[in-house]
Structure formats: structure tokens, C-alpha cells
């Protein structure tokens, strides 16, 4: 498959949206565009599997290279491995759901959808790029749309949150930039990921560059203690904004931590692994405990994201193939789950005009569909088997357990403990919103989900279930890629 299609389709959709006449057109165009993206993602998955089935074991498939800034040896170098394919699928899923739940946006519809599509574009570009410069370009491209989405269409302290998000993410990318430049010169003036992977980078450089890259990408994926943009950003963002933010953007960081930092700088990864593990174990538990005290549904999900994303980072830090696979599964799972979670919160908010847990109750009665979805996503969050969260967490834990020493064990157990705390806060949230008596008589008039919301929810639930019930297809996609990464780390 020609990977450029993944860029061209969203780009054309975005341009078409800009040129369209009214809000109705904008919505349908975006919907059709994101449907096309979804189709492309599936085609990509299919062709990828086909290609692998023919015995093509190259690390990257469908490679394409167009020179760009030749004098600096930059080129548009695209290619995908299992990880990218999965991430692209995730992006497509979240994109279409995001488009659907925003159906009722009245204010500046055109701009809203344009920015959403731009965010999607950035993510696709990021996941297929094999040139660090281009990768960085796509990473950065998504920062400003996020800022605008939160600042313009957000709620609450939106300007503050938008600013914090943009600045922290920019801070992260500043570090990434320095790291990338470091790699560029060490690797003999090349930004090419596959080229750099072939060179042996001196240990002392790795010790400098690895933390830069890891922390930089870590900011994007809410590495403790650089996660504080997450609660504010998510809670202020409009529904689709939160979905994209948590569902896709945070995954950019995780992907970068793995694909760029860990993969390219194995010595650095080994050196700093313990710090990463400690930080992410703290994040997992601490995020979970902080979540317990939240009263706003969006804050609950935002903090729980910190906790869940901790699993991804923990998996990466553990440096075993299973743990890394688990980290990747967790990224996908969390992407879908949290997008769905935000979608549900958005739906509830649209109706009740509150996100405060204490003000709700008994929503099951008035909006059974939404409440059911809320149940499903909550159960996914607390790692119920049959839903994606379980698969991811278990894979990480099993992978982590392979490190046979007290430090790793303690970290693993700490991470495992979060499943209890998660249960506590998720059930509290569910019990107080969906269950119990109805506290506000006005709620009795509320309607259940509309078609677009149902469709969005069903798409995401389908994703969650497909991973939760039959996880091996995902596992088989990710494992070989993780193995290549592990081989480099192990020095093979």
C-alpha cells in the first residue's frame, strides 16, 4: 500500500472542509474522510498481513523515500512495521469516533473539524515516518491544534489549560529536538531511523541523548512528574479534543519513547531503565490514588490515564520483549478506552451539564445506552478480562516479572496493586453516576444517545472487544517488532 495515502486523505479532507459551505457539509465531509481513513487503516492491516504472510520479514514494509532538504540529508522516509500499523488503526478508530461525537458543535464548526483532521494527519505522519526530522515535524504539528481546540472550544479554565499543555508539550519537544540533533551528528549527518539503528552510538553520547529523548517524549505521554498538563488539558478540552489528546497524542509520546529513545539508544535505555521503572511505578500507583480523590469525571479519567499510561512506560522500562509488547498493547488499549471514556463523559455532560460525580446518579434509568457504555469502559479501565485493558496489563506484568530481582519485583507488584485501586475509583464513579437513585429531577427528561453517539461508542467498543476477546492478532503484530527492538537492546 502506498503510505502517502494516509497523509493525502486527511489532508484533502481538511482542505475540503475549509472550502465547504456550511456546517452540514463540514460534518459529512469529515465523516466520510475519517471513514476513508478507517478503510485505509484496515487495508493497510490487510496488506501488511499479506506481505508478512509471503515471508517478507524486513523490519519495515512499504518503504518509500523522497528526498527533502537534501543538503541536510533529510528525506521523507516512510515505512511501517507492526507497531505502526497498530497505531494507525488506533488513530483511525479514534478519529472517526471523535468526528462523530462532535456532531453537535455549533461554534466555528469548520475550524473545529479542520483542526481535528489536522491532528489526525499529524498522528498518521508521525507513525509512518522513519526520518527523525519528519517524525519531529509531525509530532510538533499536533501541538497547536490541541492548543486551539482546548482554548476555543473548551470549558472551565480553558486558556490556562491550553497554555499549560502547549508549553509543556513544547518543552518536551525542545528536549526531543536536542536529542534528535545529537543523534544526527553522531550518526554522520543522518536523521534516518534505520540508518541510525545501524550505527553504534558511543556510550557517553547515549547517556546524554537518551534522557533528553525519553523525557521529551515522556512529557507527551505523561511521564511522572511531567504529567500535570494531562488533568487540566483533558478536563478543559472539548470531548473530541480530549479523545484525540488521550487517545492519540499521548500515544505519540509512548511510541517515541520506544521507537526513538529506547530502540536507538539501547545503552542509555539500560542505564536509565531503573529510573524509568521507578517513575512509572510511582505514576501508576500515585495516579490511581490521586484519581480516587477526584470529583470531576474528566479529572477522574485524566488521572487514571496517568496511571494507565504508567503501565506503558513500565513495560518499556522493563526491557523484556513481553513487557514491551504489553506496553504497546496498553497504548492501543488505553487509546481506545480513554477515547471512549471521554466520549461517554462528553455525552453525559451534554445532557446533564455537569461533570461532577456528586451531582449525578441513576443515569442508568434515563440513558441506559450511555450508562452501559460507561460500565463497559469502566470495566475495561479496571482490567476486566474480555476487554482490552486486561490483556495489556497482564502482558506488561508477565513481561515485567521476567526480570528476576527484588527491585523489578517490587515495581511489578506496585503496578499490580493499582488494579485494586483502579477498581475502587472506577466503581465509585460508576456507582455514583450510573447507579443509585436519581438526584436531580430534571434528569428524568434527558434523552439517551443519538445515532452519531451510538455509532461512535460502538466503533470504539468494537475495538476494545476485538482486543479483549481475541488478543493474539494484536500480539502477533506487535511481538516481532518488539523483538527487533529487544534484539538491538540485547546487542544481537
Amino acid at each position: 500500500m502506498n503510505l502517502l495515502l494516509l497523509l493525502i486523505v486527511p489532508l484533502l479532507t481538511a482542505l475540503a472542509v475549509l472550502l465547504s459551505a456550511n456546517g452540514r457539509q463540514v460534518k459529512w465531509l469529515s465523516f466520510i474522510g475519517s471513514l476513508a481513513q478507517l478503510a485505509l487503516a484496515f487495508i493497510l492491516l490487510y496488506t501488511f498481513e499479506e506481505e508478512r504472510a509471503t515471508g517478507n520479514t524486513a523490519q519495515m514494509l512499504f518503504e518509500q523515500r523522497y528526498p527533502l532538504f537534501q543538503s541536510l540529508n533529510i528525506s521523507l522516509h516512510f515505512g511501517v512495521d507492526g507497531i505502526s500499523v497498530v497505531m494507525i488503526l488506533l488513530t483511525a478508530f479514534v478519529s472517526i469516533a471523535g468526528v462523530l461525537v462532535s456532531w453537535n458543535i455549533e461554534k466555528m464548526t469548520k475550524e473545529f473539524y479542520f483542526l481535528l483532521l489536522l491532528l489526525g494527519l499529524g498522528a498518521y505522519g508521525f507513525f509512518i515516518s522513519l526520518d527523525l526530522f519528519i517524525l519531529f515535524f509531525f509530532l510538533e504539528i499536533s501541538v497547536i491544534p490541541k492548543y486551539l481546540l482546548i482554548g476555543i472550544w473548551g470549558t472551565g479554565r480553558k486558556e490556562y489549560s491550553a497554555n499549560k499543555l502547549a508549553l509543556m508539550l513544547m518543552g518536551g519537544s525542545a528536549l526531543i529536538l536536542v536529542g534528535i540533533l545529537g543523534l544526527y551528528f553522531v550518526a554522520g549527518h543522518s536523521f534516518d531511523l534505520t540508518e541510525i539503528a545501524k550505527t553504534t552510538i558511543p556510550g557517553n553520547i547515549q547517556m546524554i541523548v537518551f534522557p533528553l529523548l525519553f523525557v521529551g517524549f515522556g512529557v507527551f505521554t505523561a511521564l511522572f512528574p511531567l504529567h500535570t498538563w494531562v488533568p487540566d488539558g483533558h478536563s478543559s478540552a472539548p470531548t473530541a479534543g480530549s479523545m484525540f489528546l488521550a487517545g492519540i497524542s499521548m500515544k505519540l509520546g509512548g511510541y517515541g519513547c520506544l521507537r526513538v529513545a529506547t530502540y536507538l539508544l539501547p545503552e542509555g535505555a539500560k542505564e536509565y531503565a531503573n529510573i524509568i521503572i521507578a517513575l512509572s511505578a510511582i505514576a501508576i500507583l500515585y495516579g490511581a490514588f490521586a484519581t480516587m480523590m477526584q470529583k470531576d469525571l474528566k479529572y477522574i479519567n485524566a488521572y487514571s490515564s496517568v496511571s494507565h499510561v504508567g503501565f506503558s512506560l513500565l513495560g518499556i522500562g522493563m526491557l523484556t520483549q513481553t513487557a514491551i509488547t504489553g506496553a504497546l498493547i496498553q497504548m492501543v488499549s488505553h487509546g481506545l478506552m480513554t477515547a471512549l471514556f471521554f466520549a461517554v463523559i462528553g455525552m453525559i455532560y451534554d445532557r446533564t451539564h455537569t461533570r461532577m460525580v456528586a451531582e449525578m446518579g441513576g443515569l442508568m434509568k434515563v440513558m441506559p445506552f450511555i450508562a452501559t457504555i460507561f460500565f463497559i469502559v469502566g470495566l475495561c479501565s479496571l482490567g476486566l478480562p474480555g476487554l482490552s485493558g486486561f490483556v495489556a496489563e497482564m502482558t506488561v506484568l508477565v513481561g515485567s516479572w521476567q526480570n528476576n530481582d527484588v527491585f523489578h519485583r517490587v515495581a511489578t507488584i506496585a503496578a499490580a496493586m493499582s488494579i485494586v485501586v483502579t477498581a475502587v475509583y472506577i466503581l465509585r464513579a460508576i456507582a455514583r453516576t450510573a447507579m443509585g437513585p436519581i438526584k436531580n429531577a430534571a434528569f428524568l427528561q434527558l434523552k439517551d444517545a443519538a445515532w452519531n453517539e451510538k455509532l461512535a461508542a460502538i466503533i470504539l467498543v468494537a475495538g476494545i472487544l476485538s482486543i479483549g476477546i481475541a488478543p493474539n492478532w494484536l500480539n502477533e503484530l506487535l511481538r516481532p517488532a518488539a523483538e527487533i527492538i529487544m534484539n538491538r537492546i540485547a546487542g544481537k
Partner: protein, 645 residues
């Protein structure tokens, strides 16, 4: 050989029910949902009985030993070559026995609910949840892989959660379902870590392989498992003990039992199915599954199992004597009986005659499923009639509810261990096993046995005798009709006759049939104790009098403590509210908002402050600008002429 398709269908049929009713229950199967689910489950039950027949009487026994079969195994998630979660079917006497129990009790509950839950708004939802539960429970008992058990373990947990919270607008139900889920989740954490330890030591998740590798002294895996130790205890012991923690949570063993009484907030048939007959014995089942590993651990994990079981048994029995909510009494009695099963396992050994406790435990599991389900369903009929759970609202109901009365009495006799009812035989074996291995536990069991008879008959007399029934508001609908009475009768037959099954012939720790030898002189003590309990209860409660109150008063402190369930709930509340929330959660949230976030904001504020602080540099005075200019030149010149030369 076992037929994989047929066995696979047993759990899949209820699953189909769940999916169909879950997706279309509201619209398509509005009225037929109960029938649909029941029919599916009936099919399941028939298949289960067929499987059991085939296994026990046709192909199961080879060389007079019951074999283990894995007719189906699919890779579900492969962590790396050799370590994968498989979805499989594991056929051995235990799982086949459990298949029968689960499908049978579930079927009874399905039928019963047709009457009991009639008219409920969320009728289809109820049946879909029941389907989910039955599927999960069957998946659990059929599991061939330790992770598969964990998966279904969680799924039964969630179905239990959903069913307890079925009346979601009742705050107490909501609280109860939350509590049940969280407490068992906490226990599952132990289970999970146990799995991680065992799988790491053995390099597999497959039961058969795992047991094989870990029970052969001298094998490399066994050596690893024994040589690694933490706090002086070997890895294998840790593994087994932590797995047992999971089992204890699910089976409501002390001190993880607090969720079970509250779980009675669910509809009564659900309590019968999940919280009496099937799910709560999953802990016992789990220990039997890994029994060889438990048996080989040093220090012996089974000692823990035994003592936890014994303590739970007597502890629950004492509390049960004081409760007034009939379902709570039954709940504590369940806990007590499971305690029996547990310590039976605890006093057992692996293989041969020494495995008597093992057989006894499962035998008791089997009979208990019958009579406890019956008790609950009968209690359900009573509650259905009275619209209250409290003993004080009942009394003299034997006229109004004749069938219920008789079946309830049978169940009470069975649980009290009066021959020739089912409970007598199974308890007998348990006591024998305890007597042979651990005399302290034996005495505890004996006392418990007496208490059991007492509180059961206290219940019985309070409901059906005591005082003449005065009805409030005449809206009564009789006993509930055929659909509710049929299960009662069927289960009563089971409760009465199940004891005559030569259980040891079929189920034993290592598959070799165990002759059940009967010791008449040995059974005198428990039977006498049981009868004493019964007559005491009769003396106190047959008609209204002030004797119970006097006794309660004379036992003042102790009675109060027992009435308040020994304040275990309060301890938990303290731990969660005070420690978890106030000491960890709050500071974490505060720390995040003020320190971590504060640091970020402080960075911003500092930058701003510096920005304001240095604004004087731009003074607007052109001569000052020139001074800076000159200073710049001089500093640079000095720097590069003197310092960096």
C-alpha cells in the same frame, strides 16, 4: 474420548444467551427472554449430564484411574514461545462434577426466577447477566490454564457485581456490589501475583505441565521454585499462598469475608446461585486444582488453608446465631460451610487414602450446593411472600407456604448433618479427615457443627413457627406457582439423597477411586451435637418467649460483638476511609495539585517575576543604554583578553 464440541457448547450456550439478551433483550426478547435463557441452559445442563455420564462411566476410567483430558486448547495470547494463555477444556473428575453442579443449580435458578422475577422492568437484563455468570463459571471450572481460571475468575466476579447491583437504584445494593467487587479484587491481586510466581518458576501457565514440573522434586523448575526465596519463604510457597489468598477472597474466608453478607442485596435467586452454590466455592475449586502444588510446599501452605477454613467456619457460625436478616444468616452459614470445605482440604494430603479430606471437601461442595441453593430459594419464596428479610416480620408461615416449609426443613436437616440427609455424609467424611490429621481443627469443626444445627433451626422455627403469621396488606399470590416450586422440590430431592452417592469412587485427589468407609461409632458425636443444637433452637424459638433475650443479655458483650459481626466491617471502613482515602489518596491528590503542578506553575510565575524584575534595564534613558553598551564591550574584551586567552 471427550467430545470437544459438546463440552464447549456447555459454556457457550449461556454465553449465547447473554449476547442475545444483552444486545436485543430490550426490543426483541422483551417477554420471551426468561424462556429463551432457560431453554438454552436446559440444553447446557443436558449436555453436562451427558458429559458426566460419558466421563464417569464410559471413557474416563483407564486402569481404574480417572484420567485427565484436554480435548481442546486454543492459544489466546502468547507471551513468548512456551508461555501462553490458552483457552482450553480440562476434563477430570472435579471439573465434570462441577459442570453438573453449576449447570444444575443454574438451571434451577433460571426456572425459579421465571416466577420470582416476573414483572421486573429489566427482566431481559437479569437473564443476560445470569447467562454471563453461568458462562463464566463454566469457563472457570473447565479451565486448562491457570490464567484462564484467572480470566473467568474475574468474569464471575463482575457478573456477581452486576447481579448484586441489579437493583441499581437502591443505594445499599450499589454499596454492596462495589464492596463485593473490590474486596474480591483485592484478593485477586494475591492470586495474580501467585500466578506470576508460579508461572515464572515453572515456565508455563498450563495446569498439567505446571503441576508436573513443580511436583517432581529434583526437576530444574522445582529447584528454582524452592531455591528462590523471599523473607525466608520459598517461591513456591509464596506462589501457592498468594493463589490461596485469591481463593479465600472469592470464597469469603476470614478476613476477606465481609462482602458476602452484603452481597445478599442482590435478588435472592442470585444469592442462591452465586453466593451459595457456585461462585463462592471457586476458592475451594482453585485449591483443588493446584492441590499437588499446595501439598508439596514446605512450609506447608495447606496448614494455612486449614486454619483459615477452620477459623472462618466457627467465626461465621457464631455470627450466624445472632443475625436477624434471614438471608444474612444464610450467608454466614455459607461462609461457615465453605470454611468446612477449606479446612477439609487443609487437613488432606495428596494421593491415596490420605487424600480423604480432598474428597470430603468436594463431596461437601457438592451436597452443599444442593441444600444451600435450596435454602436460599426457599428463603426467596418466603421473602417473596412476606416482602421482608427480617425474622420479626415472619413466623407461623408453615400454613401459608407448605411446600416451602417442607423443602426448607429438609435442607435444614441436611445442613445440620442429620442422617440420612446429604449433609450428614459429607460432613462425616470431613470430620473424619480432620480427626485423622489435625485434632484441634477437629474440635473446632465439631463445635461448629453443633452451632450450625442451632442457627439453622433458629431460622427455621422463626420463619415457620414462633408466632402465628399476621399478614400486612392482602396482596398475596400464594407460594409462587409451579416454576418456583419445581426447583425447590428438585433440589430437596437432591439435598435428601445426594449423600448416597459414593462420591469417593469418582472424585479423589489423584484419580484413584476412594472407598468410602463408614464409621458408625465416629458419627455419634457430631449427630448428637447436631440434635442438641436442633432441640435448643426448638426450645428457644418454637413459640415466642423471652428466653432468647435473656440468653443474649447474659452473654452481653460477646453477643453484641457477634451481632455486630465482630466489628470487622468497621475495621475495613477504617482502613479504606481513614488510611486509603485520607492518608494516601488525599495527600496524593494534594501533592499533585500543589507540588507537582505547583512546580510547573512556579516555573511560569518565576519567569514572569524575573521578567518584571528586570524591566528597569530598559529605562528609557539613552545615556544608560550607552553605559550598557560600553559595559558590554568592556566585559567582552576583558573576558576574551584575560579569561579565555
Amino acid at each position: 474420548m471427550p467430545n470437544a464440541t459438546i463440552i464447549a457448547l456447555i459454556p457457550l450456550l449461556p454465553l449465547a444467551g447473554f449476547v442475545l439478551l444483552g444486545l436485543f433483550g430490550r426490543k426483541v426478547f422483551r417477554n420471551s427472554s426468561g424462556i429463551l435463557a432457560t431453554v438454552l441452559l436446559l440444553a447446557s445442563t443436558v449436555l453436562a449430564l451427558y458429559t458426566a455420564y460419558e466421563y464417569f462411566f464410559v471413557y474416563g476410567k483407564v486402569d481404574s484411574i480417572y484420567q485427565k483430558f484436554i480435548p481442546l486448547q486454543l492459544t489466546w495470547l502468547e507471551f513468548y514461545k512456551g508461555l501462553s494463555i490458552d483457552m482450553g477444556i480440562y476434563i477430570d473428575p472435579i471439573s465434570v462434577m462441577m459442570l453438573v453442579v453449576v449447570t444444575f443449580v443454574s438451571l434451577m435458578v433460571h426456572i425459579y426466577s421465571l416466577g420470582y422475577m416476573k414483572g421486573e422492568e429489566r427482566f431481559p437484563v437479569y437473564y443476560s447477566f445470569l447467562g454471563l455468570f453461568t458462562f463464566s463459571m463454566l469457563g472457570l471450572v473447565l479451565a486448562s490454564n491457570i490464567f484462564q481460571i484467572y480470566i473467568f475468575w474475574e468474569l464471575v466476579g463482575v457478573s456477581s457485581f452486576l447481579l448484586i447491583g441489579y437493583y441499581y437504584d437502591k443505594p445499599s445494593a450499589v454499596a454492596a456490589c462495589k464492596k463485593a467487587f473490590i474486596v474480591t479484587r483485592f484478593a485477586d491481586l494475591g492470586f495474580l501475583i501467585g500466578i506470576l510466581i508460579l508461572s515464572f518458576c515453572s515456565g508455563t501457565l498450563d495446569f498439567q505441565t505446571l503441576i508436573q514440573r513443580l511436583t517432581v522434586p529434583g526437576s530444574s523448575e522445582f529447584n528454582t521454585a524452592v531455591s528462590y526465596s523471599f523473607m525466608g519463604v520459598s517461591a513456591i510457597t509464596w506462589g501457592a499462598a498468594l493463589v490461596f489468598v485469591g481463593g479465600a477472597g472469592k470464597s469469603a474466608m476470614f478476613p476477606l469475608h465481609i462482602w458476602l453478607p452484603d452481597a445478599m442485596e442482590g435478588p435472592t435467586p442470585v444469592s442462591a446461585l452465586i453466593h451459595a452454590a457456585t461462585m463462592v466455592v471457586a476458592g475451594v475449586f482453585l485449591v483443588t486444582r493446584l492441590f499437588p502444588v499446595f501439598a508439596i510446599t514446605t512450609p506447608n501452605t495447606l496448614v494455612i488453608v486449614g486454619w483459615v477454613g477452620a477459623v472462618s467456619a466457627i467465626f461465621a457460625a457464631i455470627i450466624a446465631c445472632t443475625q436477624t436478616d434471614i438471608k444474612r444468616v444464610l450467608a454466614y452459614s455459607t461462609m461457615s460451610q465453605i470454611g468446612y470445605m477449606m479446612f477439609a482440604l487443609g487437613v488432606s494430603k495428596y494421593g491415596g487414602e490420605a487424600g480423604l479430606g480432598f474428597t470430603a471437601s468436594l463431596f461437601h461442595l457438592f451436597t452443599h450446593a444442593m441444600f444451600k441453593a435450596l435454602l436460599f430459594l426457599a428463603a426467596g419464596a418466603v421473602i417473596h411472600y412476606v416482602h421482608s428479610n427480617e425474622m420479626k416480620d415472619m413466623g407461623g408461615l408453615r400454613k401459608q407456604l407448605p411446600i416451602t416449609h417442607i423443602t426448607f426443613l429438609i435442607a435444614c436437616l441436611a445442613i445440620a448433618g442429620v442422617p440420612p440427609f446429604a449433609g450428614f455424609f459429607s460432613k462425616e467424611e470431613i470430620l473424619l479427615a480432620a480427626y485423622q490429621n489435625n485434632i484441634a481443627i477437629y474440635y473446632i469443626a465439631l463445635i461448629t457443627s453443633g452451632l450450625t444445627a442451632f442457627y439453622m433451626f433458629r431460622l427455621y422455627f422463626n420463619i415457620f413457627w414462633s408466632k402465628p403469621y399476621e399478614s400486612h396488606g392482602e396482596s398475596h399470590h400464594g407460594e409462587g406457582g409451579f416454576v418456583m416450586m419445581l426447583p425447590l422440590v428438585l433440589l430437596a430431592i437432591g439435598a435428601a439423597a445426594a449423600g448416597f452417592i459414593p462420591f469417593g469412587e469418582y472424585v479423589s485427589s489423584d484419580g484413584t477411586p476412594l472407598k468410602s468407609n463408614f464409621h458408625l461409632q465416629f458419627s455419634i458425636a457430631p449427630v448428637v451435637l447436631g440434635l442438641t443444637g436442633i432441640f435448643t433452637a426448638m426450645w428457644l424459638y418454637r413459640s415466642q418467649n423471652d428466653r432468647p433475650a435473656k440468653i443474649a443479655a447474659s452473654l452481653n458483650g460477646f453477643y453484641k460483638a457477634a451481632y455486630h459481626k465482630f466489628y470487622i466491617d468497621e475495621v475495613y471502613v477504617f482502613i479504606t476511609k481513614k488510611i486509603l482515602f485520607n492518608l494516601i489518596g488525599k495527600p496524593a491528590a494534594w501533592f499533585d495539585r500543589n507540588v507537582v503542578d505547583g512546580a510547573v506553575n512556579l516555573t511560569g510565575a518565576t519567569t514572569q517575576a524575573i521578567s518584571v524584575g528586570i524591566k528597569k534595564i530598559q529605562s528609557g534613558k539613552v545615556q544608560q543604554y550607552a553605559i550598557y553598551f560600553l559595559a558590554g564591550v568592556i566585559v567582552l574584551a576583558a573576558l576574551f583578553i584575560y579569561v579565555w586567552k
